[in-house]
Amino acid sequence: MNLKKVLTLRTIVATSAGLTLATSTFVAAVQVAGFLTGNAAWLAILTSGLLCFLAAACFSELNGQLPSAAGIRLYFGRAFNDNLALVISLFYMVVIMGIVGAESFILARVLSYAVPAIPPLVWIIVMFVIAAWVNIRGVKIAGNFQDIITYGLMLSIILLAVLAFGKINFRLENLTVVGGPGNLIQAVALGVFLFVGFEWVTPLAEESTDTKLISKGMLIAVGLLSIVYALFTVAVTSTVPKEALGHSVIPHLLFAENLLGKTGVIWMTIICLGASITTFNAGLLSVSRFLYASAREHVLPTCLSKVSFKYFTPWAAILTIFFVGLAISIIVLITKRYLIFVNLAAAMESLIYVLAGLAVIKLRQKIPAAQRPYTIPGGLILPGLTVVVFAVLLATVLITDKIAGLCLAVGLFLSWIYVINGVPVLRERHRKKHPARRRRPVKVELEEQ
């Protein structure tokens, strides 16, 4: 009794890595290098990747125990309580919209650099219209296409890095100079952003018969990404002067231009487009499905649960994201403060990893006999370490970027206020509009019949 359609490990790795690979992550990778005095970004990136292994292990255990597309909503709801799960999930969706906003801004700048005649705002509008249209039509990135994009991108980046090493007659110099432990911790904290979204693959648990494949896929994806980002960052910082990189929104494009001229610009633009397609689409898809599900359980206004009769897609939720995402992108375009969203995402991701570690511990205490296809070895040591490490990284991000810290605190507070005061009102309104009805005959009646 196996499902007809099941995902392969290759596609799970490609999906997990593809969700993470984005145009904004290339910029963040160069920002990581900016914290360090030498050319030691690879060290920070590999450390971030290694720490993300801890988080991946926690997600693997949670996903094995509770395989569901509801993801953190279910894990945190079971481990703590539904209100906390809702507060975190709602704000996380806002942060994802922020990432989509920052991503579209950076991609628009890349495209404007490659085709200067078209201004960034036009690119942003075009991208949002295409993404919304594709999502409303229900067009999906097929597994094989996802494989080609992700593995092609990774190979392409590695090839560019190797070319760069050859061109500059690469030597192992300054590769371990970090400029102090504080700098390294800051770099590692931002480095977490490079892996944002690897766990978004867990909803695919329902499309796979073996939940262990999801765990394995996540771990392989984090490992591959660590290597790709580390090579890329060392190549960029070895080829382009740090001063030029630090103030640029398109350091990866400068690198490619420096390396291969106009061909490099075209090559990197194609890489960015490929990287953004999957992230952009995944962001829109996951947020729209979340809004739809939340509206269905009367946590958000019911109008968001409207579904297209033709394509069976939640068009109202998709259009809402279209307008909110577009607004965020235009704000970023005007203020140029895209790094706030990058830092906010790194902080939020760290917070979620802290809670994932705590959820593993709590669920083991609450339901010790539950079936767990995968259990993190070593008892409570690794989940505990996950909590401590990501709490430190969260604090580091908040200290480094106080505005991002303020946004996180205000966002969580508003989300909490909404869950405590707004949600009961919506539920009460629904109860009044649709009084409880029971179609199922009660058992007594059945027995009498």
Binding site: M1, K5, G138, E206
Partner: protein, 117 residues
Amino acid sequence: MAEHSEITASLRAFQEGYNKNKRLKKMNADWDRVVLVEANDIPSRHTLILRKGELTIQEGSPENPDIKIISDSETLADMFYGDITPTQPYLNGTLKVLGTEDDVVRLDFISLMIWGE
């Protein structure tokens, strides 16, 4: 705990609601799926077959279903009678729907069309 016959009756009610809705049948005309409905607390398995927009029910399990719906017998009976929406048990982990994301959304939408909010 609901009995197997109650789940069967709930599925018949669901089938009746579905077959009454001409628009829904037309919309699903090209969505051929085999769905296994399985209770995890009593021995109860049913197969829903959607073929050319028509919904039929069989006792027992199919060989290769497209979608699996697994939950406790009470939730299954309540859900197919439309007394509860699938969203709540799905989000709290009581209900498991194994299949592609599109299929899961469509099933939820069919339930919405038959039973309302």
